[in-house]
């Protein structure tokens, strides 16, 4: 197929562009400068492959499909969590420096590869599909409209960008124990909406054991999802609503409250547990997920060791229900996952990527 190897005369010759790629491992690293030839129609992953084939053969980066289908090539490009294979170079200015860093929420293994085992552990804790006991294989009957709701969540390619972005764990290693993250909320929602799933307490489980209460509906996860799954609107909010409804049934309320308290104490070790029910005045929006010092930290660049806000529970309104407040928020569309006052690209000098296990630099 020699004919296809040549660009076929259609393409413009490439131009050299400036890249900064984070190189290093858990003991530290730095942004390394590269000048790379970029051709028309290429994506960031093409550039990484060119680097591997030329200057940096040992540059570590995950990928498989190069088509946005496998969710392997997650990285942060100019600070935005993205798939490398789905980020076209044409979205940047000709003279713009493109900074590529590993996912921030997970420990670095090497270069752009992080240890995402947290997600697989959470997957394993989420109770599996419970098949109906009265149906033989082949006898399942479901209507398309009924499966479509769950199908939306099954589009998930497990890129973990939502997990990486969610502020509950992004800078809070300690929350990882109790919080499964948006990917596994949609898994619970998917099973909850599955027409034939025989397990009836998916929502209660999400609240009691997956840490659904930590989510304050900032929608950051929805924003970064490459599959455009409406994580917040279609999974998290419906689950919270039902949970809240049930909790105000006096009997259920008492039972689940006692249960949850015990559970939380055990889950968030060493932390003063906050009862999500008692929190009324908690911020919940863009920037709201970042406390002032954290904001300052963010301005200075990525800083693993900075003081971080406590997990927050969603505020309830006077009737004790969840205010689905993103609909009444003062800005159009979903808020920026990084706070409205952070602009990209972040100053590259500030991206220091010190690993949490590494001795922290003094401020």
């Amino acid at each position: 197929m020699a004919t296809q190897n040549a660009p076929g005369g259609t393409g413009k010759p490439g131009t050299a562009r400036h890249f900064k790629v984070w190189r290093g491992d858990e003991s530290g690293g730095e942004l390394t400068d590269y000048q790379v030839q970029v051709n028309e129609g290429e994506v960031v992953l093409d550039v990484i492959h060119r680097l591997q084939a030329t200057e940096a053969p040992d540059l570590a980066c995950r990928w498989n499909c190069k088509a946005g289908k496998c969710g392997s090539c997650s990285m942060e490009i100019n600070g935005m969590p993205r798939l490398g294979c789905m980020t076209r170079m044409s979205t940047f200015e000709e003279n713009e420096t493109v900074t590529i860093t590993p996912l921030r929420t997970f420990p670095v293994i090497r270069d752009l590869v992080t240890d995402v085992s947290y997600n697989y552990e959470k997957a394993r804790e989420t109770p599996a599909f419970a098949p109906p006991t009265d149906l033989e294989p082949g006898d399942y009957r479901m209507q398309q409209v009924d499966v479509e709701r769950s199908q939306e969540f099954r589009k998930c390619i497990e890129c973990f960008l939502c997990q990486n972005t969610c502020h509950v764990v992004r800078d809070h290693e300690e929350n990882k124990v109790a919080f499964s993250g948006p990917r596994y909320f949609i898994r619970a929602a998917e099973l909850d909406m599955h027409p034939l799933d025989a397990k009836a307490d998916r929502k209660e489980y999400a609240q009691a054991s997956q840490g659904l209460g930590y989510c304050n509906i900032t929608k950051c996860c929805t924003e970064v999802c490459p599959e455009h799954i409406k994580i917040t609107d279609n999974a998290i909010i419906p689950m919270k609503e039902r949970v809240v409804d049930r909790r105000y049934d006096p009997v259920v309320w008492l039972g689940s409250k006692i249960f949850r308290r015990g559970k939380q104490n055990e889950a968030v070790q060493g932390q003063t547990p906050r009862d999500p029910d008692e929190l009324g005045s908690v911020h919940s929006h863009a920037g709201g997920s970042h406390e002032p010092e954290a904001e300052v930290g963010a301005e200075r660049g990525v800083h693993w060791g900075r003081q971080v806000p406590h997990p927050t529970a969603p505020p309830l309104d006077s009737r004790g229900r969840l205010a689905i407040s993103e609909f009444t928020f003062d800005k159009a569309a979903a808020p920026s996952p990084f706070g409205d006052d952070v602009t990209f690209p972040l100053p590259a000098e500030g991206l220091n990527y010190s690993h949490p296990d590494q001795p922290q630099a003094k401020d």
Partner: protein, 641 residues
Amino acid sequence: MTTRIERHHYDVVVIGAGGAGLRAAIEARLAGKRTAIISKSLFGKAHTVMAEGGAAAAMGNVNSRDNWQVHFRDTMRGGKFLNNFRMAELHAKESPQRIWELETYGALFDRTKDGKISQRNFGGHEYPRLAHVGDRTGLELIRTLQQKIVSLQQEDKKAHGDYEARIKVFAETTITELLLDGDRVAGAFGYYRESGEFVLFEAPAVVLATGGVGRSYLVTSNSWEYTGDGHALALRAGATLINMEFLQFHPTGMVWPVSVKGILVTESVRGDGGVLKNSEGKRFMFNYVPDVFRKQYAETEEEADRWYTDPDNNRRPPELLPRDEVARAINAEVKAGRGTPAGGVYLDIASRLPAEEVRRRLPSMYHQFKELADVDITAEPMEVGPTCHYVMGGVEVDPDSGAAAGHVQGLFAAGEVSGGMHGSNRLGGNSLSDLLVFGRRAGGHASAYAEGLAARPKVAAADVEAAVDRALAPLEREGGENPYTLQQDLQAVMGDLVGIIRRKGELEESLVKLADLRDRVTRVAASGGRRYNPGWHLALDLRNMLVVSECTARAALEREESRGGHTREDFPTMAPQWRTVNLVCSLDGDKVRLEHKPLPRMRGELIQLFDRAELAKYLTEEELADFDALTAEAHAEEAAN
């Protein structure tokens, strides 16, 4: 050598975490065996995730006339009668059960109006047969199996207090060597990509489910994983490969823009009404209907267009010919100077369906091209051309058990890495069901084999040391060849000389060049350390790519005919006597040896599913005479009753 080596003991080790590997592992675990699943990438990322169109199973949900016999017939036709008939039979019979079983694991397929699993049309299938979920069927399949494994682990946790008590996933772990005790498999040796540390699995039974070989080609839909590891591991362990000359080039991979080059445009675009046009705007497929398919395909555009709404009374549009026919037609158009600037042809759905309808039927296709390349498939035609996609050839196996042929015991293979099922050409959708049917069989038989052994084979310490040395060699070599350059050179040889259309002279030249490359690969060097070093990983994979490429080139040179995924310009037609022959590759030292082996003969009741007229296109005179005798016998019997 003082390298630390982690050791594990398992009953069954499954290499590969795609559809075939996961299904095999589930079966082994259900049989009570301690099972390890090993995968080069993360759990749930294997190639199966990319399959789009669907999984073929004759459930008859959409057209009740469909049944396993029809599916069997289509499969044999598609493979040009070179398939192992027993595998095609088992596949056609068992795939509906395997699909239904997925529903009990939680899969959510698209539905028909009466609530059953919906089935769609696909090239080469007589009736709508592909169970699907939009155009992300592979994702549904792998996620479902992944979640079933999690559910088994949850059961184990309840019973034994440990998720990994009986089934454990070793993600990002690459196997470089199978270890033997005499003729018996004793274990598998590899490294963790993450740390570069070595790991040894001691196990009496190994299931290979490593997928294909596409990385030896430049325009390919395959990922970095597809370096033919399983094929090469099997060869080195003393097993044999068959049908290696048959590679499938998907007819419609994107050729432009660059960022999407090699990405496939699913066949369902054609199933849903998309048509192929050359640069002159002509719908050219009508000129390329081979004689054997004349009866089933429309001759005019009008008839073809009527088929979409009334398939019972019209013949199919020629765009839905088996994919090798389509690939060849596109290639011919391009060679005749009627291609696009980037060397493809146009695939047009935009002018055939309203934009809304295109988005609804092909959501991820639409989304993918919009996002990747800013191409709006509802507004403009796509530029497509043949892309290396699937290898029909693979480990020669016993059809019922998946046990590898040759002189090795305890080795099983399933999925793309095994050969025979698809003959010379695979029908779309037959792979996903193949993974399930034969994955389950291989897992079950591997367990039974492990069960039946009186004593466990032992791994020899010297073999492990040799494996360590071989793995470390590229890192210790100074100033050797760059692995990426070698890979590019290999891709150039295979693409130019052993590509979709082949010639004797070029194939001979390829063997010379491959020998030269083999020499250079022994001098490959990787810079950097052992931790997650892709250069080192590639350096190790090259050895596998090379031996497998050599099998393909040798077999392609030997087979002097054109059939399915093997097209010889100097022998442009099918030759019935070649249909009776499988080309079998084995290793003799480090040399590839090629032998002819007769194809097993189809059982009487199966061959009688076909018309004599159809068989006449494939069978030799003697075979036809036998067929006539069979028919006469059957008639006589009927008369007697």
